[in-house]
Every structure is written in C-alpha cells, then in structure tokens.
C-alpha cells in the first residue's frame, strides 16, 4: 500500500511527505513574502505625502477671537461626525478644508468619505441601517427615496432659519419632502450654458446670441459657413447615457413653455407627453437632429449617442465645432492648462431665452441630509448652512482646485471666486431677475429620471419619433 503513494522507489513515504510539505511550505512562504514585499514597496513608492487628516480629538480652541463665531456650537471635543458623498478627488479636498475651522474651534472631528458609487451605496446603507451621519445628496429625487427609508432626520430649526435667510422658498422646497424640511442646500451648478471659443467667434465675426432667435440664426450661419459644424453633442455615460439630452429638453421646456409649465411637468401635474413638452423636444430636435448642425468633430447624428459626454465639447478647442451646451462643471474636462475665460481658448455664454429679458436658469445642487440628530451632527449642519461656511468653501476651492464650485447662498461673496466660469455662473444664479429651476430629471422618480428619460432620449436621438419617445417615458412613470 505504501507503493501507492507517488514516491521514488526506495525512499520512505514519510520522508517524502515531510520534504514535500517543507519545500511546499518554504515555497509558499517565499511567495507570500515576495508578494507582500512587492506590495509594500509599491505602497512606499506611492508618495510620502498624504497622511490621513489626524486632526480632531483636540481640545476646542476656546477663547480666541476667531472662534467666537463657533462658541454657539458648544464644546464637541472627541466627537466625530461622518460624512459620505459622491464627490471624490480633487473636489473633496476643499470640503475637508472648509470644515477645519469648525473642527479647530469645537474640537470635533469630521470624517469625510466618498466614492463614485454613492448613489447606490447610500440607499443600500440607509436600508440596511448603516447610514453615515450626513450625506451630500445631489438629487431631490434621491432625497425622497432616502426619506422613504425612514432613516433621515428632519433638519434642526436653526438650519431652516438659515435657509429662509440665505436661499429662499424655492430652494427650501427642494429639501422638503412630504411637508417636512430635511436638507439644506450646499453647492450649486448652472446648466444653462453654452461653451464656445471666443477666438473662433471673433475671427469669424460671430456674436454671442441674446435671444433664441439669434441662436437659431447663428446656428444657420455657422452651418452654411462650412468651416465647422455649429454644435457638438455627446451623451454617452455608461449606464447614465442620455442624461445630457435631458438637460437640453429641460432648458427648452423652460424657454418655450415657461417655468410654470416646467413645474407642472416635473411634478407630473401634466403628463410627460403633453403637447407643450413635445413642442420643446421638437425644438431641440430642430437643432441636434439636423445633420447640418451636428456632430462637430465626431461624425453624423448617431455619434451623439456614442460620444462620451466628457469628450463632447473638446472639438471646440480644435476648431471643428462651434458650440457645446453643457453645465458649468464641464470646465474640468478641458485639458489642464487650457485658458478658460472671456479672452481664453474657451468660455461660455448664457443659453438665451425667447426674449433678452427672460432669464430662466436650469441648475442643480447638493443637499445636506442627516441621518442622526446628535448635537454635534446638528451643529455641523447649522455651520454648513451659514454664509461663513459658503465663503470658506469658495476660498478653499479657489486655492485648491482653481474654483469650480459655487453656491446659491446669497451670503456668498463673489470676490472669493477666481474662476471666470464660476463668476459667470454666480452672476447668473444670483441675478434677482433669474428664474431658477432645479434639474427636472433629478426631481422625478428614479424610474423616470434615472431610467426611462435617459433611455428615451438616447433612442430619440438615434431616430425614434418625438411622440413615441414621450409616450414611452410617460408609461414608465410610477403609478403609486
């Protein structure tokens, strides 16, 4: 029976086994050591800087003048507040910086975590009973879903008062679900912008349009000039493909039908396939489904669906496209070193309305949502809703990421903004004549706003008719 084992004849099987195990073990140890060694070398090489912020747990900075404003939050030494967001590098650093005075003066520690799966993960965490203290929620629709899990706590009264003071009723309504106010606004972005190259316009004698009619005329002019296509559009974004077109439609509903119809549309008081919406969609189609107008730098109309939204505006730099309609945050997609400004390689103008005096503005923003009501969490919420924080954040963004962040907080001092696009956006946003409306798809139920609307737009640009597209989206609106 001993011969049954794989042994060299004449050797004892136990010796062999022991040797096998020893060589095996030795080899395994070697492998393990090599792997760990390699990984640790890799880790060591990856930068000596960047230790985790270990501030916090320090005693409150009592008594100093700069901390006088923070005295009302009390002594929060040793307390930690966890924040979870979808805002990752590099925009997360200004957030972390903006909380430092709060941490220093109250002694609390703010633990900021973020990842790009935020929108799915926050729902999972809320439902499973493992939510963060505070989440930065970018859509009112998502806020409603979170409130439905029953884990969100109402905002403290002080926060409500700040929102009344610095934002106004429409923004407060966005953070309200079922009559209760939950989430104060944080940052904002402006979407009614058209990117262009000032130099190209100047060279060709093209003027920035101030009405829709002028925009249509300009489109025709550029198309017939033959040097480049007037518009470049790209909507590919993985599973979110189609979302840029939802912005187009929303902008046009605001302009062709007006803000009141917009509100009815978003809250489903009128059906999705209402003739007014169809008219707006057709107006969009007149621009972007016309092969003469698109797709600058990419090819025919179908490339709209396959071009990544991040790449879509780049042909402006090459001179193969004249205009790209996209939000203020698009600035981050231009190669580093690109001059962005009225005299630079690329800039943006406000997407005009029917008349030069109307100023509907489509935009988006984030909302500070709390899942706990401990004193330190409420203190941070309150701090977050003040103008102090808004200015701290603006300054931090300006110095760390060259701007790229604005807020609709009326206490924001525009002097803290350095980026030309930020200044433009802030001017538009804070203009008392502007009619601000929050992105529609972000407010609609997820089945539509993060599903049927996106898909519908993609099918539409690939050839589906306006009516069948709108009918399909309307059918997807949840009945409950």
């Amino acid at each position: 029976m001993l011969l049954l084992l794989p042994v060299p004849v004449g050797a004892d099987h136990r010796d062999v086994e022991v040797k096998m195990r020893r060589t095996g073990a030795r080899r395994w140890t070697a492998t393990a050591a090599a792997t760990m060694g390699l990984a640790l070398v890799l880790a060591a090489c990856s930068g000596s800087g960047g230790t985790t912020p270990t501030t916090g747990g320090t005693a409150a900075g009592t008594g100093s003048a700069e901390c006088a404003d923070y005295a009302k939050y009390g002594d929060l030494t040793g307390k930690t507040i966890t924040i979870y967001a979808g805002i990752v590098t590099p925009e997360d650093t200004p957030y972390i910086e903006s909380f430092k005075p709060f941490e220093k003066c109250t002694g609390a520690k703010v633990d900021y975590q973020a990842d790009k799966q935020f929108e799915q993960q926050i729902l999972v965490r809320a439902q499973a009973g493992n939510p963060p203290d505070i989440a930065i929620v970018p859509q009112p629709g998502l806020l409603a879903q979170l409130v439905a899990t029953g884990k969100v706590v109402k905002a403290p009264d002080a926060v409500g008062a700040n929102v009344d003071k610095f934002w106004g009723a429409s923004w407060k309504a966005l953070g309200t679900v079922g009559g209760a106010f939950y989430a104060a606004p944080s940052g904002a972005s402006v979407k009614s912008l058209v990117w262009y190259s000032p130099k190209t316009f100047a060279d060709n004698g093209w003027k920035v349009p101030t009405t829709m009619a002028e925009l249509t005329a300009l489109t025709k002019t550029i198309a017939s000039a033959g040097k480049m296509k007037p518009w470049c559009v790209g909507i590919a974004s993985g599973e979110a493909t189609g979302w840029p077109l939802t912005d187009w439609v929303e902008d046009f509903v605001l302009r062709t039908a007006g803000p009141d119809v917009y509100d009815q549309w978003v809250s489903h008081k009128i059906p999705f396939n209402d003739p007014k919406i169809a008219k707006a969609l057709d107006a969009v189609g007149a621009i972007i489904k016309d092969p003469a107008n698109v797709n600058g730098g990419f090819g025919d109309v179908s490339t709209i669906a396959t071009t990544a939204f991040q790449d879509a505006g780049l042909p402006i730099l090459d001179g193969t496209c004249a205009m790209h309609r996209q939000a203020s945050f698009y600035a981050a997609n231009f190669p580093s070193g690109t001059q962005i400004g009225p005299d630079g390689a690329v800039y943006a103008f406000y997407l005009p309305a029917e008349s030069a005096t109307d100023k509907p503005v489509l935009g988006a923003g984030e909302f500070v949502t709390a899942f706990a009501d401990r004193p330190e969490v409420q203190a941070l919420q309150e701090f977050w809703s003040t103008d102090t924080w808004a200015n701290l954040k603006a300054k931090a963004s300006s110095s760390i990421t060259n701007g790229g962040w604005i807020t609709a907080n009326k206490g924001l001092d525009p002097a803290n903004l350095v980026n030309p696009i930020d200044k433009l956006s802030a001017t538009i946003l804070l203009d008392p004549k502007s009619e601000f409306r929050f992105d529609g798809s972000d407010q609609m139920p997820a089945a539509v706003g993060s599903g049927a609307f996106w898909k519908g737009m993609t099918d539409w640009v690939l050839g589906a008719s306006t009516s069948s597209t709108l009918d399909k989206i309307e059918a997807a609106w949840p009945t409950s």
């Binding site: 799915q120 974004s237 599973e239 493909t241 090819g299 179908s302 599903g451 993609t458 409950s480």
Partner: protein, 325 residues
C-alpha cells in the same frame, strides 16, 4: 488604524479560523475513534452554514421580495413577472442573455483548452500562460477601457482631406483595408457579439488555468502507453486527453455559463445596456439600484435563478454518469 494594526487583525482572523477548524477536526477525529459513521456533516458544516446565511437566505428573501411592489409595501403577487414578460424590450434582453450563455463558454473553453495543451511542458510555460491569464487579472474596469481602444469609432469621409485618425484598433484595420469604419457597439444585433468577445477574452484565462491543472493530472502511463501504440497528436487528444479531463471540462463550461448569466459590468460600462445589448443581469441591476424598483429587480434575479436550472440539470446528469463509471 495603522499598518501594523491592520496586519495584526488579519493574523488574528487567520488564527481564529485555524482554531475553529482545528476544533472541528479534533471533534471529528474523536468521533471516528468512537466509531461514528456520518462525520461528513462536520466537514461540510462550516461551508453550509456560511452559505445558508450568506447566499441561501438572501436568495429566499429575493424570491419573496419579487412578489411585492417597488417600495416593498404591498403584495402584488406575480405582477412583476407579468411586467417582465409583456415588455417588448424583454424579449431582446432574453435573446441576448441566451447568446451570452451559449457562445461564451464554448469558445472560451476551446481557446483555453487549446492553449493549455499547446504550452504544456514547453519552455517558458508559466510566462506563456500568464499572457492568456492577463485579461482576467486586469479586472472589468481595465477591460472596458482596453476594448474601448479596439472598438472606438471616428468618422471617415473619403471626400474630406482631413479625417480624424482612428483610435480604435479594429476600425483602423478596416480603414487600412479601404473600408468604412463602423460603430461596432451601436449596430444591432452584432453589437452583442462584440461585447461577447470581451467576455471570451477574459474567460479564456480561467478555462486555461483550470484545464491546465486537469491536464497535468492525466497519468503519464496512459499517455505514454498510447504514444507507444503509435497514436498521433489528434487521436491522443480525442481519445485520451478529452475523456480524461471531461469532468473538468463540464465544470469549466458550467462555471463560465453561470458567470455569463451574472455578469453585467461589461454591458453596463461599454454600452450602458442600450442599443439592444442589455442582458437580464443588467436589467436586474438597473431596476434594483438605479430605478429603485426592488420588486421588479428581485423578479429579474429570480429569472436568473430559473435560467440556471438547465445548466444544473446538465451537471447532475454528468455527475451521475461519472459516479456510475
């Protein structure tokens, strides 16, 4: 936690595990000495426990959840299932899923087997195998980008002087051959095949690794005896190699097939499930996590469970056949 703490926790976990297993096996050895017969349960115990808690219970919960509405508040019976089967899009989704499950295992296994055989015993076998293994190592995120640079489309107008240069390898080849570049991921229904190619590219490494181990387990005497009998390479393959590794082949085919049922990352990152490329797993993810309709998502997951039944039946048959031998 600093580095040292993390490693300490890890070592502690391993030690605790070793202790638990040691205890279990000690009990088994004791029981065997006392003449106990069915100690098998101790061996499978920990596994079964983890599986019941970690997979079986969630699976049962899913089946139950599929009978409720989106928010989980009202019982709606089989309503979600009717929604699935009356949706026009769903037929396309099912067709695609079947394509994935049928094509990928066979092609990937064929490539993996061929390669494993061909490099078996050759000089530099490890390096050669690592080349086929590389796609598995690179993760779906990397794979998505890699194939973006194969399929990417830039327009080509022969009437223009300055066409943009192609950045997708496949389209560049087409242009070199004087043909028009194509939007591979857009044009139905072939776009499905182009996505399936990515999965084959990844899974061949898995097939190769497992089959390589199986080939090396073929007893030398069998092959030597056959060679001495004057068998050529192809006959060796057909009559010795394949029958010997047949159980492993079934295992590999099954595993890849089940993997294809579940995978949606490729579809999601490369086409977002659009242009008629969606598969059941992708729809499941969309409904559960993006559209917030967990009832419908659960129903789609149950559909996956049902689709795996033929594969399971096939495996049971193979197992019975093997046992009877």
């Amino acid at each position: 936690m600093n580095v040292a703490d993390k490693f300490l926790v890890m070592v502690a976990a391993l030690l605790i595990f070793a202790a638990i297993i040691g205890l279990v096996l000690f009990v088994v050895a004791l029981l065997e000495k006392r003449g106990a017969r069915s100690v098998g349960w101790f061996f499978v115990g920990p596994t079964v426990l983890l599986l019941v808690v970690g997979l079986a219970y969630p699976a049962v919960r899913t089946v139950v959840r599929s009978l409720y509405n989106a928010a989980g508040s009202a019982f709606i019976g089989l309503s979600n299932y009717t929604t699935i089967f009356t949706s026009g899009d769903m037929l396309v989704v099912l067709r695609n899923t079947v394509l994935w499950v049928v094509i990928t295992p066979f092609v990937a296994t064929a490539v993996g087997l061929l390669y494993a055989l061909v490099v078996d015993g050759a000089r530099g076998e490890a390096a050669a195998k690592s080349l086929i293994f590389l796609p598995m190592a690179i993760s779906f995120v990397g794979a998505g980008i890699i194939w973006k640079f194969v399929y990417e489309y830039k327009y080509f107008d022969p009437t223009l002087a300055n066409n943009p240069r192609q950045i997708g390898l496949l389209n560049q080849v087409l242009v070199w051959l004087g043909m028009q570049p194509k939007q591979f991921l857009l044009n139905q229904p072939w776009n499905n095949l182009f996505l399936i190619v990515v999965m084959i590219w990844i899974q061949a490494g898995f097939a190769m690794t497992i089959l390589s181990a199986a080939i090396k387990a073929i007893p030398l005497e069998t092959t030597e005896a056959a060679r001495l009998d004057g068998v050529n390479a192809v006959q060796l393959f057909r009559f010795i190699t394949v029958p010997s590794i047949r159980p492993t082949l079934v295992v590999v085919l099954t595993t890849i097939a089940i993997g294809c049922l579940k995978v949606f990352d490729i579809v999601r990152t490369m086409t977002g499930g659009l242009y008629g490329t969606s598969v059941v797993a992708n729809e499941f993810y969309t409904q559960s996590f993006t559209a917030g309709n967990q009832g419908l998502g659960a129903a789609l997951a149950v559909l996956l469970f049902v689709l795996v039944i033929p594969i399971i039946v096939y495996n049971i048959r193979q197992l019975r056949r093997a046992e009877a031998r």
